[in-house]
């Protein structure tokens, strides 16, 4: 299909932002990447409101941590690791991506590595997840999900494998929102980032950008700019929501590739294949 590039300019706060898109599968936003704000706050309480994290999710993350901690400790390497890292995830399951949204699975896996295995998930510069449908009759007593996670350390242009947990029969629990005790007050926060995302959405929609349904889709997101201290998945969550508003169905996404690059100029490039 021949596509042409459309350029629009929008006002985001005091700044004018340039956006290029092709109405079907590509969006480039020339601005510092946005990120979801709340993951950096303490887990126990946000704004003093008590919350409970989803226990199966926390447990899944603890298991991911264990799968890496044991073998790495065995090599005599001290944890947590400092450096620049890449993570590759392969998920095979008889459950569909509607039950296992890939970005939420990725987030859950990365949270399991964060702090315990890699000192800070800021230091993960590239992360991918690949989904394969597993056509097997599930066992009655064992989960049908098969998860492989590989952690690489990046040294300049080369990368070395730190550890890979391959083909683990584990019940995968995607990232879930915590429960808030004070339901009267805490659903009320609004974040600037969501307003900004909505402004971008309105402009793209008005200029004819929309995704046709159907899959499987391979999603690529590249974040450039002052991204050293921004989490890949927190940035991805903002733009994934934008894509969903533009018609992307999470269940159609069978592969996600995320990467960030520290650069002088901010830019977010999104491609769907």
């Amino acid at each position: 299909m021949i596509t042409s590039t459309h350029a629009i300019s929008i006002k985001l706060g005091k700044q004018n932002i340039q956006i290029q898109h092709d109405r079907v599968s590509q969006i480039t936003i020339f601005d510092e990447p946005l990120e979801e704000p709340y993951e950096h706050m303490t887990r126990k309480a946000i704004n003093g409101v008590p919350l409970l994290q989803n226990i199966p999710m926390m447990d899944f993350q603890a298991k991911i941590g264990m799968l890496f901690r044991g073998p790495i400790t065995l090599q005599g390497i001290q944890l947590p690791l400092k450096g620049i890292f890449e993570v590759e995830i392969v998920l095979e399951s008889s459950r569909g991506p509607d039950e296992l949204p890939l970005l939420s699975v990725m987030k859950s896996v990365v949270d399991g590595l964060n702090r315990e295995i890699v000192a800070d998930d800021h230091s993960i510069y590239a992360c991918s997840i690949d989904y394969k449908y597993l056509k097997t009759k599930p066992s009655l007593t064992k989960p049908s999900d098969v998860l492989s996670v590989a952690l690489f350390e990046r040294n300049g242009k080369r990368r070395t494998l730190v550890h890979a947990a391959d083909d683990v029969n584990i019940y995968v629990v995607p990232k879930k929102d915590p429960l808030f005790l004070d339901y009267n007050n805490d659903a009320l926060w609004s974040f600037d980032v969501h307003d900004q995302r909505d402004i971008i959405f309105d402009a793209l929609r008005a200029d004819g950008m929309r995704f046709a349904g159907g899959g499987p889709i391979k999603l690529n997101m590249n974040f450039e700019g002052s991204v050293m201290y921004k989490d890949l998945d927190n940035m991805a969550r903002v733009y994934f929501k934008l894509l969903e508003k533009l018609g992307l169905q999470s269940r159609d996404v069978h592969r996600i590739d995320l990467a960030k690059v520290q650069a002088g100029k901010g830019c977010t490039r999104i491609t769907l294949n």
Binding site: M58, P71, Y171
Partner: protein, 301 residues
């Protein structure tokens, strides 16, 4: 096929007619890691029960479990001291084996200085299991202590001592037949998901009874117990029939527990009604504190 709870109405708690639950201050900690689809079970029933016993009698203030082999053997029914005897002549083989296994695999560390001093130990952070090489690896700088475990994302279960009384950990064949490994693990897991301020009992996402009286158990729960849904159903039904889990009809607002339908008027906000399983044995401090202040009055206890 989901199991139908027979005579649900007779089990369903309607209102307070005298105390319905036993609330005790003593509780102990077990690390959640040991019950998992990717963690091996203890090598035999003795080791599992002796480990639970040690956890239960671990003194967090001095980081010791001061239970001699003789005390363990007698408490758990491995040996009987003959009338008039000063001490046991021999320690049962199972107890020796279990303690040696726990020590070799770094679940515990012996703290008695030599073999002449009575056995005592420290409970360690549960080792990581590495499936590829089938080995346990001791985690570095993590301790069997809640702040340490929390800080390093190791979950733990808080269970009332009375729910795991020595009587149900005993060696006797009849006790073992009733209190199987699966039941002990299931009960621990249920306590892992008991958050009174959020759910009024066990998280209904893990296990609940639907409005038609059918038991609904999460797959996650079954896999962690390495059992089928049917087997998990049987265990839960048994707990309910024995009164160890009491079904209570509760109001929920935004997925958070509000109060029992038999104890309070419906909330002003939009609400749902769910049947929650509330463990018969509850830990006192879980009912105290600011979060429980209002809710406690709306609970059948």
């Amino acid at each position: 096929m989901a199991v139908q709870i027979q005579n649900l109405s007779t089990f369903l708690l309607k209102s307070n007619t005298g105390p319905q639950f036993e609330i005790q201050p003593q509780w102990f900690m077990v690390q959640r890691k040991i019950i998992s689809e990717i963690y091996p079970d203890f090598p035999d029933p003795d080791t599992f029960r002796i480990y639970l016993y040690l956890c239960k009698h671990f003194d967090h203030s001095n980081k010791r479990c001061k239970r001699s082999k003789e005390k363990i053997s007698i408490d758990l029914g491995y040996a009987i001291k003959q009338p008039g005897a000063q001490r046991l002549m021999n320690y049962p083989r199972e107890v020796d084996h279990a303690l040696a296994w726990l020590e070799n695999n770094k679940f515990i560390r012996r703290t008695n200085r030599n073999n002449h001093q009575a056995f005592q130990c420290e409970i360690l952070a549960v080792p990581d299991f590495v499936p590829g090489i089938n080995a346990f690896i001791e985690p570095v700088k993590v301790y069997h202590e809640w702040n340490s475990l929390k800080a390093s994302n190791h979950g733990f279960i808080m269970a009332p001592n009375i729910a795991f009384d020595d009587r149900i950990l005993k060696k006797s064949p009849s006790v073992r037949k009733t209190w199987t490994d699966r039941k002990l693990k299931a009960l621990l897991m249920l306590y892992a998901h008991t958050w009174l301020e959020y759910f009024g009992g066990v998280d209904p996402e893990i296990v609940t009874i639907d409005s038609g009286g059918k038991l609904v158990i999460s797959k996650w729960f079954c896999y962690n117990l390495k059992c089928s849904e049917r087997q998990a159903d049987d265990v839960i039904v048994w707990f309910v029939s024995r009164g160890l889990l009491k079904p209570v009809e509760c109001y929920f607002v935004h997925d958070v527990y509000y109060g029992d339908t038999g104890r309070c008027s419906p909330p002003a906000q939009a609400y749902e009604i769910k049947i929650v399983l509330r463990p018969y044995y509850l830990i006192r401090h879980k009912l105290e504190g600011d979060l429980m202040e209002q809710k406690k009055d709306r609970m059948i206890l």
